[in-house]
């Protein structure tokens, strides 16, 4: 889906703007690294930078205190930091893509029914098989998320309404409410499910080990590759279907790839963390503000911003209600909702 030499400067902008975007991307990476370091240091037991360094890289030795630090860093803080970054990137990129493909500024990956599909699957397998370990039900969560995502997209692309933002929103809401009812029906008849459901629903990056994270990260990597291949076509699609077709875009193919990417990204992130609403929506808007409408810049920005925001929310959640913890998903919602309201109030969504 190459652009012709004539269009290229139109999309890319001036050299100066491009340099500014590269610098911005570098800054975001730096912020992400700092946030990750803070995430390793902050918690029920605060660690100094030297201790974090030691916990990460030192070989095991006999010192009782240092062994303990190693344990905290490697088995507790490290996995949740990595998961926050991986899931944050996935949700950020997924949010930017879904807003692009639906041309809907209020689209969020949660809107696809992905969250409700995952919740239903988790509750069902716990009720039927009695699973207790995240490693056992994460696959079913992924299947549920992907399944409901595909159904919602399928329903939304029947007939003439395909591509209409309201159609997707309605299909998503219909499926979400239906699945939520089924989820409640199962949860109310099985206490173990109910107990798992309330923790799952909060959306958290804590308590999952690397045995879950690596497979999830693999799915997300595939999703990211698909996302990258579809970006040039996405830029053209946003000029309207007719223009895109005229410029040689295979619309059906590029939509299918885009949907596959969104489903993989959102499904995998939701499977590992539980439903996290508003993150993709929020960072996609900030990214658009920073980069303008070119998706080849917007999407990487959204991914990095997603990782930074999810990490920061997780850190804030660890600090505000000590000695307890506020789940990252709850912090994201409490922060994202006013952000969203402010965008609405400023009149950003007039034409949706």
């Amino acid at each position: 889906m190459g652009t012709t030499a004539m269009e290229r400067p139109l999309i890319r902008g001036t050299t100066k703007a491009r340099r500014r975007r590269v610098v911005g991307l570098g800054t975001l990476v730096a912020v992400l690294v700092i946030a990750a370091a803070v995430s390793l240091a902050v918690g029920a037991r605060a660690l100094s930078p030297a201790e974090v360094w030691h916990g990460l890289f030192a070989a095991p030795d006999s010192d009782q205190r240092l062994t303990e630090i190693r344990l905290i860093v490697r088995t507790v803080r490290m996995p949740r930091t990595v998961l926050a970054i991986v899931a944050g990137i996935a949700l950020g990129v997924g949010g930017a893509l879904i807003q692009g493909y639906t041309r809907n500024p209020i689209a969020d990956t949660g809107l696809l029914g992905v969250n409700s599909g995952a919740s239903f699957a988790v509750v069902s397998v716990i009720a039927v098989f009695g699973f207790a370990d995240p490693f056992q039900y994460v696959w079913f969560a992924f299947l549920g998320a992907a399944g409901s995502g595909v159904v919602v997209f399928g329903l939304a692309s029947i007939g003439r309404g395909a591509g209409n933002p309201l159609t997707l929103a309605l299909a998503g809401q219909g499926i979400t409410v239906f699945l939520a009812a089924m989820t409640t029906a199962v949860a109310l008849s099985d206490q173990a499910s109910l107990n798992a459901l309330r923790f799952w629903n909060a959306g958290s990056v804590a308590g999952v080990g690397f045995d879950v994270i690596w497979p999830v990260a693999l799915f997300i990597a595939v999703g990211l590759v698909l996302a990258v291949t579809t970006l040039p076509a996405l830029n053209l699609l946003n000029l309207g279907d007719d223009v895109a077709r005229g410029l040689g875009v295979n619309i059906a193919l590029s939509r299918t790839i885009g949907i596959a990417a969104i489903t993989l990204l959102a499904g995998a992130a939701t499977a590992a963390c539980g439903p996290i609403a508003f993150l993709g929506l929020m960072v996609a808007h900030v990214a658009r503000y920073l980069t303008g409408p070119d998706y080849r810049w917007l999407v990487p920005y959204a991914g990095l911003l997603g990782a930074v925001v999810l990490l920061l929310c997780d850190i804030v959640g660890r600090l505000v209600v000590r000695p307890g913890e506020l789940d990252a998903g709850v912090v994201v919602a409490l922060l994202g909702a006013p952000f969203f309201a402010a965008l609405v109030w400023l009149g950003k969504f007039k034409g949706a």
């Binding site: 209020i106 309404g161 219909g174 089924m182 998903g329 709850v330 409490l334 994202g336 309201a341 109030w345």
Partner: protein
Amino acid sequence: MNGTDVKRSVAPVAPGVRLGQVSFVWRPWLVCVTLLLAAATFLVFCLSIGVGDFPIGLSRVIATIFGGGERVDEFVIMDLRMPRALAGLVVGIALGVSGALTQSIARNPLASPDILGITGGAGAVSVFLVTVSGGTAAAVVSAVGLSSAALAGGLGTGLLVYFLAWRRGIDGFRLILIGISVSAMMEAITTWLLVTADIKDVARAQAWLVGSLDNRSWSEVRVALWCTLVLLAVVFCVAFQFKPMHLGDEVAAGLGVRYAMVRAVLLLCAVLLAAVGVSAAGPVPFVALVAPQVAMRLARCPTPPMVASGMVGALLLIGADLVARTALPISLPVGVVTAAIGGPFLVYLLVRANLK
């Protein structure tokens, strides 16, 4: 749903009726459908009373309701089953009318009290009261009751949404989006309360959160009944001013309607009706969204008809409660059934509109 429903209304001019200062369009089909719906609602109402561990025939139920039944029936019906059925009736009507009002005001079929934050706010307040035991929470519950506290929560959130969406007037689209975001905040708070609570309280809170008609008492029903009647009276008085507003603000102003005033009053009524419904039965999902759409299609009206929407709401709620109690292997809260009906219905509307 889309333009097609509006087009259908451009039919031959319907005959008008004028009684002194009041005039309205005579639509025989609408009246016919509304009467049929009322009859069906009454039938399901009686059926719901009759079905249970101690089954009572339909004729005996009707006789008892009108005061001519036997002593045994009277006890079972009036003391045990009537509150539940009546709660279903009142809540159904309140939610149906509330949905019809919000959808008309926002000119959007997606608008419903669920989206305007009312259910979310009521849910957060009551989950807070259920899960945080002792102290002020217990004092509040014992002083005003869970329902009234939920009512206050729903009302407060609804008003918050209204004021946040106010910006030199109320715009339907902005109202919905602000509602979505405030609802999400309330849900986040609810989720967090559920995470930190004791599992026994969680089950209670969860059952309340789906919407249920279990264990209603006369005192709760009476409050909801009177509130609903008063609100419906207000809606009835203002509704005559409301009709021209479907033609747009400018036309309405030209016809002498103070549209900002009328809209504010009706929106407040919609919020209050939904809050009453939620306080009596919990946030029963989808009734307020589905009932006006069904009524609109049955009555072949361009906009949701108020009375018929209320009737469909009641029919839906009592019917769903009947199904939830009797037809399923485990007894479920009514909200599960309404959501199970409502979700696919929304999808059906969508597919049908798209295939046209």
